[in-house]
Amino acid sequence: MDVVMLSRLQFAATVFFHFIFVPLTLGLSVLVAFMETRYCQTQDPVWKQHTKFWGRLFLINFTLGVVTGITLEFQFGTNWSRYSEYVGDIFGSLLAIEATVAFFLESTFLAIWVFGWKKLSSKAHCACIWLVTLGGNISALWIILANGFMQHPVGYTISETAKRAELSSFAEVFGNGFAWWMYGHTVLGAWTLGGFFVLGVSAWHLLRNHQTEFFRRSFKLAAPWTLIMAILVAATGDFNGKDVAEHQPAKLAAMEAQWETERNVPFNLLVIPNVQEERNKVEAIAIPGLMSFIAYGSSDAEINGLKDFPKEDRPPVAATFWSFRLMVGLGMLFILLGLWAFLARNKETINPKLLKGLVHNIPLPYLALGLGWAVAEIGRQPWLVYGLMRTQDGVSPLAASQVSVSFIAFIVLYTILGVLDIYLLRKYAIKGPDSEEE
């Protein structure tokens, strides 16, 4: 394998691994902050117990999110130095702002929150977790603004003398609508995941009649939250799709396996693409005009087919298509499951089928978020910065052997850490809350 492929694989592996931990950090922090706020308002020690129990799971997860994030900041330089040189003027500043505005806030106040239970008033302590939540969710904004620049570059000019992209308008980079919709979709996805995590762990205990009162309360808190977020994810996804249609037509065509350029395109519930022959093997259960409508808001709109694009400008169709389909399917499932949990939350007994479903569902939002990023990033290919720089042109001048070794090292280290972390999360989730303190 060449350096480009190895570097892509390494980046993909490390970024996906990172994004196993990020969404729970974003989602669970908000819920823990709610719990502690309830404690501040009511002084009910059970809310404190909630804060501590879910807070501990939050922490176990948080550490790996942080450390695997450093990898990414390093990797733009280590593996994508040509890219970093070319767009650092814009992309680098967004990362630097992320560090100074968000990372300090998140890590400093998290430490105060963890070690400061007895040193701060309950209100000040509660403020700390809100600042952690704020820090985490702001950091997501800046990194997605950076990714948004790769997806839909705005606010730059190409400098002929410096041979690179240079910032021309910070306001345009910051106000990049494409990025803001991505941000909304991603963060709401993370909040949905946090909600399903709380529902899933609670369901596990409720099935076993263990600490029923405690976990009924968690369940009641998380159920409406999860339903609302699951609906909003789908809604923002729709706006995301319209942006993709406008700015990344080749990605849209790959997401839908649309080969020919047509008007009034139907949405086929069942599609199996055949990439070799540039057609779909199966197309069934068509809803007329829906695809055109989803993409452009009009059932008559024209959609560019993949054949309109030279082969070297098309993203990998199968990976983009299947990731998108599966993500959308999971998104629908989450709305239904969220609705069911919402309706069941006050019932005397909750249907064990729902509880079992919620337990098995725990990994699925993770999968959905990973697939969403696969659509965004694989669908962006062959571009590193859409329309501006190809992926192969951004790689560092390294020997393939160097990257092979580091890639293997990442896989080994990350596998061990991932297994240990999931083991610890499971252990402490199953253990349940500590008895009331003091």
Partner: protein
């Protein structure tokens, strides 16, 4: 002008990172030597407990600012030093994880495994940072395209190794000074003994490092050109002497503070010497990345300056508040498992 301001900020971020995270790295390196009992070891972890993550963000900020203000320097530095930087990354990952995982399973094997990892990765991080910076002072073999023509072994030259030992010695002393502030009883006595043990070694390595720096690098030239700059190394040495004086007088916070100033000073002394260079090429002076050919556009530099001027004082403000909140020595109650 704008580039020079950014060079100063760039130095400052690296220096603050060393002055803060330095004590975490030093504590980790001291762990097996002075952590005799389980409670001692827990105290050593907890002495860094609330601080290390916030300290580490200074590294991320330093990296991020290098990327934003000097993208070419960031690109070449990180790709040329590919292997050592990824080793540093792995060390930092394992350090963070050892803080979080160690007390999560109550088994002797598990705990001592993480203690061993914690020691090794902290030591490795000290060595790599020292070695990398020494090589940056001296220059590395990059060509005009920013392609690195050296090897990992080439970075481990005599000067690089001396730099590694020197950095490790002052990180250890820094950790021991911090531990004196955070501990009581026999552990504190051992921390003081470690200071006294490391002190002459640090002085010796400092002298060796200065001598080799004069012999192998061009750093002196900037000082000869602008003699006023000599104030930086003079204050640096003064801070080091003050450290010892305060320690002997039992003024422990001042001793730690002086040593932090020494670390800031030593970083400044080296980097002032390479100005306006950032990544010096040992192959071809034309290939050196300077603040002029490596900087971002004026617009980016101005916007980022605004961000830094607003944000960094705020960050310092709440970090100082955090340090004050957790400044007291650890008590038995602090060391109980929660």
């Amino acid at each position: 002008m704008l580039e020079t301001i950014w060079f100063i900020l760039w130095m400052l971020l690296w220096a603050v990172y060393f002055a803060l995270d330095g004590f975490d790295l030093g504590l980790g390196t001291l762990l097996p030597f002075i952590g005799h009992s389980e409670e001692d070891r827990r105290a050593i972890y907890q002495a860094a407990g609330p601080f290390w993550d916030g300290n580490e963000v200074w590294l991320i900020a330093a990296g991020g600012v290098t990327f934003a203000a000097f993208p070419k320097a960031y690109a070449v530095m990180f790709s040329a030093l590919y292997t050592p930087l990824l080793m540093l990354l792995f060390a930092l990952i394992l350090r963070a994880v050892s803080f979080e995982f160690r007390d999560k399973i109550l088994s002797e094997v598990w705990v001592s495994l993480w203690d061993t990892i914690h020691f090794i990765v902290n030591l490795v991080a000290c060595i790599l940072l020292g070695c990398a910076f020494a090589n940056l002072f001296m220059g590395i073999p990059i060509d005009a395209q920013g392609v690195f023509h050296g090897s990992l072994g080439g970075l481990l030259n005599v000067y690089g190794i001396t730099g590694a030992l020197f950095f490790t010695s002052f990180f250890i002393l820094h950790g021991a000074l911090w531990l004196i502030l955070k501990s009581e009883g026999s552990l504190q006595i051992r921390a003081i003994a470690s200071c006294n043990f490391i002190w002459p070694i640090e002085i010796l390595l400092l002298l060796l490092f200065i001598w080799m720096t004069l012999a192998r690098t061009n750093i002196l030239q900037n000082y000869l050109d602008t003699p006023a700059l000599f104030i930086v190394p003079i204050l640096t040495i003064a801070a080091l002497m003050a450290t010892k004086a305060f320690l002997s007088a039992g003024q422990l916070w001042k001793a730690f503070g002086s040593h932090a100033l020494f670390i800031l000073g030593i970083t400044f002394t080296g980097l002032v010497g390479i100005y306006p260079g950032m990544i010096l090429s040992s192959l071809d002076p034309q290939a050196t990345i300077t603040i002029f050919n490596g900087a971002s556009s004026a617009l980016t530099l101005k916007i980022m300056l605004g961000v830094v001027i607003v944000m960094v004082p705020i960050v310092i403000g709440y970090q100082v508040w955090m340090y004050r909140l957790f400044a007291k020595p650890l008590t038995h109650e602090d060391l109980e498992l929660h």
